[in-house]
Symmetry: C2
Subunit: 241 residues, 2 copies
Protein backbone atom coordinates (compact mmCIF):
# COMPACT_ATOMS: atom_id res chain seq x y z
CA UNK A 1 0.00 0.00 0.00
CA UNK A 2 1.30 3.43 -0.91
CA UNK A 3 1.93 5.78 2.00
CA UNK A 4 0.54 9.22 1.24
CA UNK A 5 0.93 12.54 2.95
CA UNK A 6 -1.02 12.47 6.22
CA UNK A 7 -4.75 12.92 6.12
CA UNK A 8 -7.07 13.02 9.09
CA UNK A 9 -9.06 9.98 7.93
CA UNK A 10 -6.03 7.76 7.28
CA UNK A 11 -5.54 4.75 9.53
CA UNK A 12 -1.88 5.59 10.02
CA UNK A 13 0.40 8.49 10.87
CA UNK A 14 4.18 8.85 10.92
CA UNK A 15 7.17 10.27 12.72
CA UNK A 16 9.54 12.54 10.83
CA UNK A 17 13.15 12.29 11.96
CA UNK A 18 15.43 9.88 13.81
CA UNK A 19 14.80 10.96 17.42
CA UNK A 20 11.01 10.77 17.12
CA UNK A 21 11.17 7.45 15.29
CA UNK A 22 13.29 5.96 18.06
CA UNK A 23 10.67 7.04 20.61
CA UNK A 24 8.01 5.39 18.45
CA UNK A 25 9.94 2.11 18.26
CA UNK A 26 10.75 2.15 21.96
CA UNK A 27 7.27 2.91 23.28
CA UNK A 28 4.79 1.84 20.56
CA UNK A 29 6.66 -0.89 18.76
CA UNK A 30 3.50 -2.99 18.31
CA UNK A 31 1.94 -0.20 16.20
CA UNK A 32 4.83 0.27 13.76
CA UNK A 33 4.20 -0.69 10.12
CA UNK A 34 7.45 0.16 8.42
CA UNK A 35 10.51 2.30 9.04
CA UNK A 36 11.70 4.19 5.94
CA UNK A 37 15.28 5.32 5.52
CA UNK A 38 16.50 7.94 3.06
CA UNK A 39 19.26 6.84 0.61
CA UNK A 40 21.38 9.74 1.92
CA UNK A 41 21.07 8.57 5.55
CA UNK A 42 24.48 8.88 7.19
CA UNK A 43 25.47 6.58 10.02
CA UNK A 44 26.54 8.78 12.93
CA UNK A 45 26.82 6.20 15.69
CA UNK A 46 28.07 2.88 14.30
CA UNK A 47 26.60 0.96 17.20
CA UNK A 48 23.17 2.42 16.84
CA UNK A 49 22.16 2.70 13.19
CA UNK A 50 18.48 2.72 12.32
CA UNK A 51 19.06 -0.64 10.56
CA UNK A 52 20.36 -2.24 13.76
CA UNK A 53 17.55 -0.76 15.80
CA UNK A 54 14.94 -2.15 13.40
CA UNK A 55 16.62 -5.55 13.26
CA UNK A 56 16.72 -5.82 17.04
CA UNK A 57 13.06 -4.78 17.23
CA UNK A 58 12.16 -7.16 14.36
CA UNK A 59 10.62 -4.31 12.37
CA UNK A 60 10.53 -3.94 8.58
CA UNK A 61 12.97 -1.29 7.37
CA UNK A 62 13.11 0.00 3.80
CA UNK A 63 15.45 2.39 1.98
CA UNK A 64 13.15 4.55 -0.11
CA UNK A 65 13.84 8.07 -1.33
CA UNK A 66 10.50 8.79 -2.93
CA UNK A 67 8.49 8.61 0.27
CA UNK A 68 10.57 11.45 1.74
CA UNK A 69 9.70 13.89 -1.00
CA UNK A 70 6.04 12.99 -0.49
CA UNK A 71 5.85 13.15 3.31
CA UNK A 72 8.56 15.49 4.53
CA UNK A 73 8.83 19.19 3.91
CA UNK A 74 12.14 19.51 5.74
CA UNK A 75 15.28 18.61 3.89
CA UNK A 76 17.11 17.13 6.83
CA UNK A 77 14.74 14.24 7.51
CA UNK A 78 16.37 10.85 6.89
CA UNK A 79 14.12 8.49 8.85
CA UNK A 80 10.34 8.12 8.84
CA UNK A 81 8.34 5.71 10.98
CA UNK A 82 4.87 4.80 9.74
CA UNK A 83 2.55 3.46 12.44
CA UNK A 84 -1.06 2.39 12.87
CA UNK A 85 -3.21 4.72 14.89
CA UNK A 86 -3.99 3.23 18.30
CA UNK A 87 -6.54 3.89 20.99
CA UNK A 88 -5.78 4.89 24.55
CA UNK A 89 -8.07 5.26 27.54
CA UNK A 90 -7.78 8.08 30.02
CA UNK A 91 -6.92 7.19 33.60
CA UNK A 92 -9.70 7.54 36.20
CA UNK A 93 -7.28 8.35 39.01
CA UNK A 94 -4.88 10.77 37.39
CA UNK A 95 -5.47 14.47 36.67
CA UNK A 96 -6.63 15.33 33.16
CA UNK A 97 -5.92 18.12 30.74
CA UNK A 98 -9.04 18.95 28.73
CA UNK A 99 -8.60 20.98 25.53
CA UNK A 100 -11.84 22.40 24.21
CA UNK A 101 -11.66 22.95 20.43
CA UNK A 102 -7.89 23.37 20.10
CA UNK A 103 -7.07 24.89 16.71
CA UNK A 104 -3.33 24.53 16.20
CA UNK A 105 -1.37 21.28 15.86
CA UNK A 106 1.91 22.87 16.86
CA UNK A 107 0.39 24.27 20.05
CA UNK A 108 -1.13 20.88 20.84
CA UNK A 109 2.25 19.16 20.51
CA UNK A 110 3.91 21.81 22.71
CA UNK A 111 1.18 21.27 25.31
CA UNK A 112 1.86 17.50 25.40
CA UNK A 113 5.59 18.12 25.81
CA UNK A 114 5.10 20.69 28.56
CA UNK A 115 2.39 18.72 30.33
CA UNK A 116 4.43 15.51 30.35
CA UNK A 117 7.34 17.43 31.87
CA UNK A 118 5.05 18.43 34.75
CA UNK A 119 3.62 14.92 35.13
CA UNK A 120 0.35 15.20 33.17
CA UNK A 121 -0.29 12.06 31.10
CA UNK A 122 -4.00 12.29 30.26
CA UNK A 123 -5.42 14.55 27.56
CA UNK A 124 -9.07 14.88 26.58
CA UNK A 125 -9.86 16.79 23.39
CA UNK A 126 -13.35 18.16 22.79
CA UNK A 127 -14.39 18.22 19.12
CA UNK A 128 -14.07 20.11 16.88
CA UNK A 129 -10.35 20.12 17.56
CA UNK A 130 -7.10 19.55 15.71
CA UNK A 131 -5.91 16.03 15.06
CA UNK A 132 -3.45 14.83 17.67
CA UNK A 133 -2.12 12.32 15.12
CA UNK A 134 -1.06 15.07 12.69
CA UNK A 135 2.70 14.65 12.10
CA UNK A 136 3.12 18.33 13.02
CA UNK A 137 1.58 17.73 16.46
CA UNK A 138 3.72 14.62 17.00
CA UNK A 139 6.82 16.53 15.98
CA UNK A 140 6.05 19.52 18.21
CA UNK A 141 5.52 17.11 21.11
CA UNK A 142 9.19 16.04 20.77
CA UNK A 143 8.11 12.47 21.40
CA UNK A 144 5.83 13.19 24.40
CA UNK A 145 3.00 11.99 22.14
CA UNK A 146 4.12 8.36 22.72
CA UNK A 147 4.07 8.74 26.50
CA UNK A 148 0.59 10.14 27.04
CA UNK A 149 -3.00 8.91 26.90
CA UNK A 150 -5.55 10.85 24.87
CA UNK A 151 -9.18 10.59 23.91
CA UNK A 152 -11.64 12.63 21.81
CA UNK A 153 -15.16 13.58 22.95
CA UNK A 154 -18.00 15.09 20.93
CA UNK A 155 -18.89 17.52 23.70
CA UNK A 156 -17.69 18.62 27.10
CA UNK A 157 -20.81 17.09 28.63
CA UNK A 158 -19.89 13.72 27.15
CA UNK A 159 -16.49 14.01 28.81
CA UNK A 160 -18.04 15.21 32.06
CA UNK A 161 -20.46 12.29 32.20
CA UNK A 162 -17.63 9.79 31.83
CA UNK A 163 -15.39 11.46 34.39
CA UNK A 164 -17.84 12.94 36.86
CA UNK A 165 -15.44 12.30 39.76
CA UNK A 166 -12.90 14.82 38.42
CA UNK A 167 -12.91 18.28 39.97
CA UNK A 168 -13.11 20.98 37.28
CA UNK A 169 -10.78 23.99 36.96
CA UNK A 170 -11.68 26.07 33.90
CA UNK A 171 -9.08 28.59 32.75
CA UNK A 172 -10.87 31.77 31.68
CA UNK A 173 -9.89 35.42 31.25
CA UNK A 174 -12.62 36.32 33.75
CA UNK A 175 -12.04 33.37 36.08
CA UNK A 176 -13.36 33.90 39.61
CA UNK A 177 -10.07 33.11 41.31
CA UNK A 178 -6.45 33.81 40.44
CA UNK A 179 -4.16 30.84 39.92
CA UNK A 180 -2.07 31.71 42.99
CA UNK A 181 -5.14 31.43 45.23
CA UNK A 182 -5.23 27.68 44.70
CA UNK A 183 -3.20 26.86 47.75
CA UNK A 184 -3.49 23.08 48.06
CA UNK A 185 -3.54 20.14 45.73
CA UNK A 186 -7.15 19.01 45.19
CA UNK A 187 -7.93 15.76 47.00
CA UNK A 188 -10.00 14.39 44.11
CA UNK A 189 -8.48 13.81 40.73
CA UNK A 190 -8.93 17.04 38.79
CA UNK A 191 -9.29 18.35 35.25
CA UNK A 192 -7.67 21.54 33.95
CA UNK A 193 -9.82 22.91 31.12
CA UNK A 194 -8.51 25.22 28.38
CA UNK A 195 -10.37 26.79 25.46
CA UNK A 196 -9.54 27.53 21.85
CA UNK A 197 -6.54 29.77 20.95
CA UNK A 198 -8.70 32.56 19.57
CA UNK A 199 -11.91 32.40 21.54
CA UNK A 200 -11.08 30.82 24.90
CA UNK A 201 -13.75 28.92 26.81
CA UNK A 202 -17.41 29.87 26.33
CA UNK A 203 -18.91 31.54 29.40
CA UNK A 204 -21.01 28.47 30.27
CA UNK A 205 -17.81 27.07 31.79
CA UNK A 206 -18.45 29.36 34.76
CA UNK A 207 -21.11 26.79 35.69
CA UNK A 208 -18.69 23.89 36.09
CA UNK A 209 -16.46 23.65 39.16
CA UNK A 210 -14.02 26.53 39.65
CA UNK A 211 -12.95 29.09 37.09
CA UNK A 212 -9.39 30.33 37.26
CA UNK A 213 -7.58 33.26 35.65
CA UNK A 214 -3.89 33.92 35.16
CA UNK A 215 -3.42 37.60 35.96
CA UNK A 216 -1.64 39.79 33.43
CA UNK A 217 -1.83 43.51 32.71
CA UNK A 218 -4.19 45.06 30.17
CA UNK A 219 -1.54 45.73 27.58
CA UNK A 220 -2.25 42.36 26.01
CA UNK A 221 -5.61 40.78 25.26
CA UNK A 222 -4.65 37.33 26.47
CA UNK A 223 -1.77 34.93 26.89
CA UNK A 224 -0.95 32.44 24.15
CA UNK A 225 -2.71 29.12 24.88
CA UNK A 226 0.44 27.03 25.25
CA UNK A 227 2.00 29.65 27.56
CA UNK A 228 -1.12 29.83 29.74
CA UNK A 229 -1.14 26.04 29.86
CA UNK A 230 2.54 25.92 30.84
CA UNK A 231 2.03 28.39 33.69
CA UNK A 232 -1.02 26.49 34.94
CA UNK A 233 0.58 23.04 34.64
CA UNK A 234 3.67 24.17 36.55
CA UNK A 235 1.51 25.80 39.26
CA UNK A 236 -0.57 22.64 39.80
CA UNK A 237 2.52 20.42 39.73
CA UNK A 238 3.97 22.61 42.50
CA UNK A 239 0.95 22.37 44.81
CA UNK A 240 1.53 20.55 48.07
CA UNK A 241 -0.84 17.84 49.26
CA UNK B 1 10.06 52.48 -4.60
CA UNK B 2 8.74 48.97 -4.92
CA UNK B 3 8.00 47.18 -1.65
CA UNK B 4 9.38 43.65 -1.74
CA UNK B 5 8.91 40.69 0.55
CA UNK B 6 10.77 41.34 3.78
CA UNK B 7 14.49 40.90 3.89
CA UNK B 8 16.73 41.32 6.89
CA UNK B 9 18.76 44.10 5.27
CA UNK B 10 15.77 46.18 4.14
CA UNK B 11 15.23 49.53 5.81
CA UNK B 12 11.55 48.81 6.32
CA UNK B 13 9.23 46.11 7.59
CA UNK B 14 5.44 45.76 7.60
CA UNK B 15 2.40 44.67 9.53
CA UNK B 16 0.06 42.11 7.99
CA UNK B 17 -3.58 42.57 8.95
CA UNK B 18 -5.90 45.25 10.28
CA UNK B 19 -5.40 44.84 14.04
CA UNK B 20 -1.59 44.96 13.82
CA UNK B 21 -1.68 47.91 11.42
CA UNK B 22 -3.87 49.88 13.81
CA UNK B 23 -1.34 49.26 16.59
CA UNK B 24 1.39 50.50 14.26
CA UNK B 25 -0.51 53.70 13.43
CA UNK B 26 -1.44 54.29 17.05
CA UNK B 27 2.00 53.79 18.59
CA UNK B 28 4.57 54.36 15.82
CA UNK B 29 2.77 56.74 13.49
CA UNK B 30 5.94 58.70 12.79
CA UNK B 31 7.57 55.60 11.25
CA UNK B 32 4.76 54.70 8.84
CA UNK B 33 5.52 54.99 5.12
CA UNK B 34 2.30 53.85 3.47
CA UNK B 35 -0.78 51.86 4.37
CA UNK B 36 -1.88 49.45 1.63
CA UNK B 37 -5.47 48.29 1.30
CA UNK B 38 -6.63 45.26 -0.70
CA UNK B 39 -9.29 45.92 -3.37
CA UNK B 40 -11.47 43.30 -1.64
CA UNK B 41 -11.28 45.09 1.72
CA UNK B 42 -14.74 45.09 3.26
CA UNK B 43 -15.80 47.86 5.61
CA UNK B 44 -16.98 46.24 8.84
CA UNK B 45 -17.33 49.26 11.08
CA UNK B 46 -18.50 52.29 9.08
CA UNK B 47 -17.11 54.69 11.65
CA UNK B 48 -13.68 53.17 11.65
CA UNK B 49 -12.56 52.25 8.16
CA UNK B 50 -8.86 52.08 7.41
CA UNK B 51 -9.36 55.05 5.07
CA UNK B 52 -10.75 57.20 7.90
CA UNK B 53 -8.01 56.10 10.26
CA UNK B 54 -5.32 57.03 7.72
CA UNK B 55 -6.96 60.35 6.95
CA UNK B 56 -7.19 61.29 10.61
CA UNK B 57 -3.55 60.29 11.09
CA UNK B 58 -2.55 62.11 7.86
CA UNK B 59 -0.96 58.97 6.47
CA UNK B 60 -0.76 57.93 2.81
CA UNK B 61 -3.16 55.12 2.01
CA UNK B 62 -3.20 53.20 -1.26
CA UNK B 63 -5.51 50.55 -2.70
CA UNK B 64 -3.16 48.03 -4.29
CA UNK B 65 -3.85 44.35 -4.89
CA UNK B 66 -0.44 43.35 -6.22
CA UNK B 67 1.46 44.09 -3.05
CA UNK B 68 -0.69 41.56 -1.14
CA UNK B 69 0.25 38.66 -3.39
CA UNK B 70 3.90 39.65 -2.94
CA UNK B 71 3.97 40.17 0.83
CA UNK B 72 1.22 38.09 2.37
CA UNK B 73 0.94 34.33 2.40
CA UNK B 74 -2.41 34.35 4.17
CA UNK B 75 -5.50 34.92 2.08
CA UNK B 76 -7.40 36.88 4.67
CA UNK B 77 -5.04 39.86 4.87
CA UNK B 78 -6.63 43.09 3.61
CA UNK B 79 -4.43 45.75 5.19
CA UNK B 80 -0.65 46.10 5.23
CA UNK B 81 1.30 48.85 6.98
CA UNK B 82 4.82 49.52 5.69
CA UNK B 83 7.05 51.32 8.18
CA UNK B 84 10.65 52.45 8.53
CA UNK B 85 12.72 50.53 11.00
CA UNK B 86 13.41 52.59 14.11
CA UNK B 87 15.87 52.43 16.96
CA UNK B 88 14.97 52.10 20.61
CA UNK B 89 17.18 52.26 23.69
CA UNK B 90 16.79 49.95 26.63
CA UNK B 91 15.84 51.45 29.96
CA UNK B 92 18.51 51.57 32.66
CA UNK B 93 16.01 51.27 35.50
CA UNK B 94 13.64 48.60 34.26
CA UNK B 95 14.24 44.83 34.24
CA UNK B 96 15.52 43.37 30.96
CA UNK B 97 14.86 40.19 29.06
CA UNK B 98 18.03 39.00 27.33
CA UNK B 99 17.69 36.44 24.55
CA UNK B 100 20.96 34.82 23.60
CA UNK B 101 20.91 33.59 19.98
CA UNK B 102 17.14 33.12 19.61
CA UNK B 103 16.42 31.01 16.52
CA UNK B 104 12.71 31.28 15.84
CA UNK B 105 10.77 34.41 14.86
CA UNK B 106 7.44 33.02 16.03
CA UNK B 107 8.86 32.22 19.47
CA UNK B 108 10.38 35.69 19.67
CA UNK B 109 7.02 37.32 18.94
CA UNK B 110 5.29 35.11 21.52
CA UNK B 111 7.94 36.10 24.07
CA UNK B 112 7.28 39.82 23.45
CA UNK B 113 3.52 39.29 23.86
CA UNK B 114 3.91 37.26 27.04
CA UNK B 115 6.56 39.51 28.51
CA UNK B 116 4.54 42.67 27.90
CA UNK B 117 1.58 41.04 29.64
CA UNK B 118 3.77 40.58 32.71
CA UNK B 119 5.21 44.10 32.51
CA UNK B 120 8.53 43.48 30.74
CA UNK B 121 9.26 46.20 28.17
CA UNK B 122 12.97 45.83 27.50
CA UNK B 123 14.49 43.12 25.28
CA UNK B 124 18.15 42.63 24.48
CA UNK B 125 19.03 40.19 21.72
CA UNK B 126 22.53 38.74 21.49
CA UNK B 127 23.69 38.01 17.94
CA UNK B 128 23.43 35.76 16.05
CA UNK B 129 19.71 35.86 16.60
CA UNK B 130 16.53 36.08 14.57
CA UNK B 131 15.37 39.42 13.27
CA UNK B 132 12.82 41.08 15.56
CA UNK B 133 11.59 43.09 12.55
CA UNK B 134 10.59 39.96 10.62
CA UNK B 135 6.86 40.25 9.84
CA UNK B 136 6.38 36.80 11.39
CA UNK B 137 7.82 38.00 14.72
CA UNK B 138 5.69 41.15 14.63
CA UNK B 139 2.60 39.10 13.86
CA UNK B 140 3.28 36.55 16.61
CA UNK B 141 3.73 39.45 19.06
CA UNK B 142 0.09 40.42 18.42
CA UNK B 143 1.18 44.06 18.44
CA UNK B 144 3.35 43.88 21.57
CA UNK B 145 6.26 44.67 19.24
CA UNK B 146 5.13 48.34 19.13
CA UNK B 147 5.06 48.64 22.91
CA UNK B 148 8.51 47.37 23.80
CA UNK B 149 12.09 48.54 23.55
CA UNK B 150 14.71 46.30 21.98
CA UNK B 151 18.38 46.36 21.11
CA UNK B 152 20.88 43.98 19.48
CA UNK B 153 24.35 43.26 20.88
CA UNK B 154 27.26 41.43 19.26
CA UNK B 155 28.05 39.54 22.44
CA UNK B 156 26.74 39.06 25.95
CA UNK B 157 29.82 40.82 27.27
CA UNK B 158 28.96 43.87 25.19
CA UNK B 159 25.51 43.90 26.78
CA UNK B 160 26.97 43.29 30.23
CA UNK B 161 29.39 46.20 29.91
CA UNK B 162 26.59 48.60 29.01
CA UNK B 163 24.25 47.42 31.76
CA UNK B 164 26.62 46.40 34.53
CA UNK B 165 24.12 47.52 37.18
CA UNK B 166 21.62 44.82 36.23
CA UNK B 167 21.56 41.68 38.38
CA UNK B 168 21.83 38.55 36.23
CA UNK B 169 19.51 35.53 36.39
CA UNK B 170 20.49 32.95 33.78
CA UNK B 171 17.93 30.25 33.02
CA UNK B 172 19.72 26.94 32.59
CA UNK B 173 18.75 23.27 32.81
CA UNK B 174 21.41 22.84 35.50
CA UNK B 175 20.76 26.15 37.24
CA UNK B 176 21.98 26.27 40.84
CA UNK B 177 18.62 27.33 42.29
CA UNK B 178 15.04 26.49 41.45
CA UNK B 179 12.77 29.32 40.34
CA UNK B 180 10.59 28.99 43.45
CA UNK B 181 13.60 29.68 45.70
CA UNK B 182 13.71 33.28 44.49
CA UNK B 183 11.59 34.64 47.28
CA UNK B 184 11.88 38.39 46.92
CA UNK B 185 12.02 40.88 44.11
CA UNK B 186 15.66 41.88 43.47
CA UNK B 187 16.40 45.42 44.71
CA UNK B 188 18.55 46.23 41.68
CA UNK B 189 17.12 46.22 38.20
CA UNK B 190 17.63 42.70 36.88
CA UNK B 191 18.10 40.77 33.63
CA UNK B 192 16.50 37.40 32.89
CA UNK B 193 18.73 35.54 30.40
CA UNK B 194 17.50 32.78 28.09
CA UNK B 195 19.45 30.71 25.56
CA UNK B 196 18.73 29.33 22.11
CA UNK B 197 15.75 26.98 21.55
CA UNK B 198 17.94 24.00 20.75
CA UNK B 199 21.08 24.50 22.76
CA UNK B 200 20.15 26.66 25.76
CA UNK B 201 22.78 28.86 27.39
CA UNK B 202 26.44 27.84 27.21
CA UNK B 203 27.83 26.75 30.57
CA UNK B 204 29.92 29.94 30.93
CA UNK B 205 26.70 31.58 32.07
CA UNK B 206 27.22 29.87 35.43
CA UNK B 207 29.86 32.55 35.96
CA UNK B 208 27.45 35.48 35.76
CA UNK B 209 25.11 36.26 38.66
CA UNK B 210 22.67 33.52 39.59
CA UNK B 211 21.66 30.53 37.49
CA UNK B 212 18.09 29.34 37.80
CA UNK B 213 16.32 26.18 36.66
CA UNK B 214 12.64 25.42 36.20
CA UNK B 215 12.14 21.95 37.63
CA UNK B 216 10.44 19.33 35.46
CA UNK B 217 10.66 15.56 35.43
CA UNK B 218 13.08 13.58 33.28
CA UNK B 219 10.51 12.45 30.77
CA UNK B 220 11.28 15.48 28.65
CA UNK B 221 14.66 16.92 27.74
CA UNK B 222 13.66 20.53 28.28
CA UNK B 223 10.79 22.96 28.18
CA UNK B 224 10.06 24.91 25.02
CA UNK B 225 11.81 28.31 25.19
CA UNK B 226 8.65 30.43 25.08
CA UNK B 227 7.02 28.25 27.76
CA UNK B 228 10.06 28.49 30.04
CA UNK B 229 10.09 32.23 29.48
CA UNK B 230 6.38 32.51 30.31
CA UNK B 231 6.80 30.59 33.56
CA UNK B 232 9.82 32.69 34.55
CA UNK B 233 8.23 36.02 33.59
CA UNK B 234 5.08 35.24 35.58
CA UNK B 235 7.16 34.14 38.59
CA UNK B 236 9.23 37.35 38.63
CA UNK B 237 6.15 39.51 38.06
CA UNK B 238 4.60 37.86 41.13
CA UNK B 239 7.55 38.51 43.45
CA UNK B 240 6.88 40.87 46.32
CA UNK B 241 9.22 43.75 47.08
Amino acid sequence: MEIKRYKHNAGYSYTLGMALTIELIKYKRESVRTIYVHPDYIVQDKNRTIFDICERAALPCEVNGKIFSRLSMKENTYVIGVFEKYLTDLSREEPHIVLVNPGDSGNLGTILRTGLGFGFRDYAIIRPGVDIYAPKAIRASMGAFFHVRFSYFDSFDEYRTQFSGHEIYSFMLDGEMELREIGEKPIQPYSLIFGNEGTGLPCCFHNYGKSVCIAHNHEIDSLNLAIAFGIAARAFAELKN
